[in-house]
């Protein structure tokens, strides 16, 4: 049969701008595939959600998980021809840890105390606390390896210029329209990539993007909206893909404020949330109901969560028990972006009404929300992407010293468990520890998590091997090839 073909230009459409190519700080949905093509990290997360070798061919940890040594690939060069060495890794990680430079990966890697180049192809990380998941964190999308030369130049050059070691190199960068990448002839895996070039085409309007995709003007639609999925999936010559993911909207209830400091009120709201309806109405069925844990079911060590039924009567009873026999009037804040936050709020308002919650919705611009409500407000809608590990998930939000500790849910026992999990290398022991942590989360219900949203993408069926990892940070486009005759 016919194997992968060489050549061709893959045209990927997207609807959000590629505003910058600065690996250290970017966060746009369409920016991630670009840096995944241009740059390589030490490690890279696969479709199995586990870390795989990238620039590091292998690594070893000390027993207490406080020291990691990575062995680097030989003969790799940057796109400009300069050789890749351990020194570049050191420079990159120093930049990530430098508080003068905005770096999105810092919060995932701040346990690193120092980085040292043992020789040209070996780096060693010294950690301040034990951290078994370091190879996962080094795969962080914003921890891709830059050359020392680039880091020593003006930081703002990183926005528009890119010199990486990835399978493609940057040819054209036009943030308003088109980013074009071409094959890196010197990619460290011989024979890859298959494609000659990739074009990232900006279609700021969904209707336009869809129309162009259906007409064959583009090969891949990076993100498909739930509302369009069925129609696109039904179109001839199109393969629509649905990837279960750990992305979720959640209801944040500030634990140090009335009435959310009472777990019964939180549980009542959980009972008054019609998860199936929300999945139906908001996600058009393209997702799974979630039962108030922020841990994605796909992750290693994730436990099965018991279903929470929609039971308004029970919710009322619980509210009455908590001292609100006549129900509770509350104000729920939702930022206007993305729209799913408001949609969640509206649907929640409807289903919770039967459970005795009289919810008033306040919608506000995203920046006002970020400045005034986020991590401060008592009751609002959050929206989070999937994290690579259980540890990363909890350390982002729930531990007492989490990066975005928005519920003020403090539980020393839980903190200790997570810390222990970090330091434990043995998988069975870790599974045990994380199971306990998840049980504790469920017991206290710091968040209502009504659903996990699927990642939706689509390609023409002439495009082979187009896949999206659940976290939408890793794409492996070097494996994609075009079957055009």
């Amino acid at each position: 049969q016919n194997g992968p073909r060489q050549g061709g230009t893959l045209r990927i459409s997207h609807s959000t701008r590629i505003a910058t190519l600065n690996v250290l700080s970017l966060s746009g949905p369409a920016e991630y595939p670009c840096i995944d093509m241009i740059y390589s990290g030490l490690t890279r997360i696969g479709f199995d959600n586990l870390p795989h070798p990238d620039l590091a061919t292998s690594w070893e940890a000390s027993d207490d998980a406080t020291e990691f040594t990575f062995f680097l690939r030989e003969g790799v060069t940057f796109h400009d021809g300069s050789p890749f060495t351990a020194d570049d890794v050191v420079a990159t990680y120093e930049a990530i840890l430098n508080t003068d430079i905005p770096a999105a990966a810092r919060s995932s890697l701040n346990m690193i105390e120092s980085v040292e180049a043992v020789d040209d192809l070996t780096v060693r990380f010294h950690l301040s606390t034990p951290f078994a998941d370091l190879p996962v964190s080094t795969a962080h999308a914003n921890a891709r390896i830059l050359s020392r030369a680039a880091l020593e130049g003006p930081i703002s050059n990183l926005d528009t210029q890119a010199n990486g070691t990835g399978p493609f190199r940057l040819e054209t960068y036009d943030s308003a329209r088109l980013v074009r990448l071409v094959r890196n002839e010197n990619y460290y895996i011989p024979g890859l990539p298959h494609l000659d070039a990739v074009e990232m085409l900006l279609y700021p309007d969904l209707a336009a993007e869809t129309a162009n995709f259906l007409s064959g003007a583009t090969d891949v639609m990076l993100t498909v909206q739930q509302a369009d999925y069925a129609r696109i999936a039904a179109a001839a010559g199109i393969e629509a893909k649905r990837v279960s993911s750990g992305r979720y909207a959640c209801v944040v209830m500030r634990q140090d404020q009335e009435p959310w400091n009472d777990v019964r009120v939180r549980k009542a709201l959980a009972l008054a949330t019609d998860r199936d309806l929300l999945v139906d109405v908001i996600l058009e069925g393209l997702g799974r109901p979630a039962y108030d844990s922020i841990v994605a079911p796909e992750l290693e060590f994730a436990t099965e969560k018991p279903a929470i039924p929609y039971d308004p009567a029970a919710a009322r009873a619980l509210l009455a028990e908590a001292g609100y026999p006549d129900g509770l009037k509350v104000r729920l804040i939702a930022s206007d972006r993305p729209a799913i936050r408001v949609q969640t709020a509206i649907a929640l308002q409807q289903t919770a009404a039967a459970g005795g919650f009289d919810i008033e919705i306040e919608t506000m611009p995203h920046d006002t929300y970020l400045a005034n409500v986020w991590m401060k407000g008592a009751f609002y809608i959050g929206y989070w992407g999937m994290q690579p590990t259980v540890d990363a998930t909890y350390n982002l939000l729930l531990t007492s010293d989490a990066s975005y500790e928005d519920t003020n849910w403090k539980n020393a026992e839980f903190d200790a468990l997570i810390a222990e999990g970090r330091a434990t290398v043995d998988p069975a022991a870790r599974a045990e520890i994380y199971a306990r942590a998840q049980a504790m989360e469920l017991e206290d219900t710091p968040y209502i998590v009504p659903f996990f949203e699927d990642v939706l993408t689509a390609n023409r069926d002439t495009t082979e091997m187009w896949e999206v990892a659940p976290m939408t940070r890793w794409f492996y486009i070097e494996n994609v090839w075009l079957d055009r005759t």
Binding site: A19, T20, S25, A176, A211, D367, L370, W384
Partner: protein
């Protein structure tokens, strides 16, 4: 039109624009939230924020920021976009030409269509023609752009039978045919409203002029009706119509914001909305200033056109 008049007009444009710069800068600077937050989003930690603010120069005193910005502007340098990693002049420049292409197509089409339409309505006053054109213009003025656009989209760009693309942009230099198909719906949206305004204006001016003594005199001189209309009536109804149209230009510039947003036209309007959402202050400032300049200049241009059409104002 004397040189003194022109100088005075340009002078007052400069004064007005100076007021605009202060106002725009003032308003944008006190906008809640800042670009650093918007860039970092939920990944913002306090240090990252502070670092980002420093990198963007947002930590300097307002007056310093204003003066350095103004200094740049006067040298044609609008600074770097906070969000798009490009010089503002480049971002705004590209968007400007795209908007100009759209506006130009709309304007030319509209002028060519609506002036005769208005004239016909006035000449055939009280007939079905007049009524039809009147209804059309009322409907046209009462529909906000986003409604017109949506209806046009449903009618002509439904994915089941797409007659025209639902949006997007192809540069005229790249593929002129594709440019035309892409520009049709947005231009039609913009045009419908302008058309309603202009044809109504031409109609009412023309109706007045047709009643005037000099048109009577022209008819009583035995001139052919065609000459009476085209040489005597029309030129005299155009000047006041242009005066009103020049006031409408502001409305149209506003309309561009919405139309571009809906049809994904990468012009100034879309850029402005993006910049507003992302607190990209240099871009907001540049776009606003540019639109104000365009507005002022097109008003001036309209006055020149009026002077050209009407010798009475020529030497005023």
């Amino acid at each position: 039109m004397s040189l003194a008049y022109l100088l005075r007009r340009l002078g007052s444009i400069v004064i007005v624009l100076a007021i605009v710069t202060v106002a725009v800068f003032g308003i944008t600077m006190i906008l809640p939230g800042n670009a650093a937050i918007m860039i970092l989003g939920e990944h913002a930690t306090p240090e990252a924020l502070a670092a980002m603010e420093r990198q963007l120069g947002l930590d300097r005193p307002l007056a310093v920021q204003y003066l350095s910005w103004l200094g740049g502007v006067l040298q044609g340098d609008f600074g770097m976009s906070l969000r798009l990693s490009l010089p503002v002049s480049q971002v705004v420049g590209a968007a400007f030409w795209n908007s100009a292409a759209l506006a130009l197509v709309a304007l030319v089409a509209v002028t060519v269509i609506s002036i005769p339409i208005g004239a016909i309505a006035a000449i055939r006053r009280g007939t079905g023609w007049d009524l039809g054109i009147g209804v059309l213009s009322y409907v046209g003025t009462a529909m906000p752009e986003f409604v017109t656009a949506t209806i046009l989209l449903v009618l002509f760009a439904s994915p089941d039978w797409p007659v025209l693309p639902a949006g997007g942009f192809v540069a005229p230099t790249e593929d002129f045919g594709a440019f035309l198909t892409h520009v049709t719906l947005p231009a039609a949206t913009l045009g419908l409203i302008m058309m309603a305004h202009i044809s109504r204006q031409v109609r009412s001016e023309m109706a007045d002029v047709l009643q005037s003594d000099f048109v009577r005199a022209a008819r009583l001189k035995g001139l052919a009706e065609r000459r009476v209309i085209w040489r005597h009536a029309l030129p005299n109804s155009l000047a006041p119509a242009v005066a009103v149209i020049s006031l409408d230009i502001g409305y149209v510039l506003g309309g561009i914001i919405v139309v571009e947003e809906i049809f994904a036209w990468p012009g100034l309007g879309r850029l402005l909305i993006y910049a507003l959402q992302n607190r990209d202050l240099p871009v907001i400032q540049a776009v606003t200033l540019l639109l104000a300049v365009v507005y002022a200049l097109s008003n001036l241009l309209a006055d020149l056109v009026i002077a050209w059409l009407d010798p009475r104002v020529r030497y005023a």
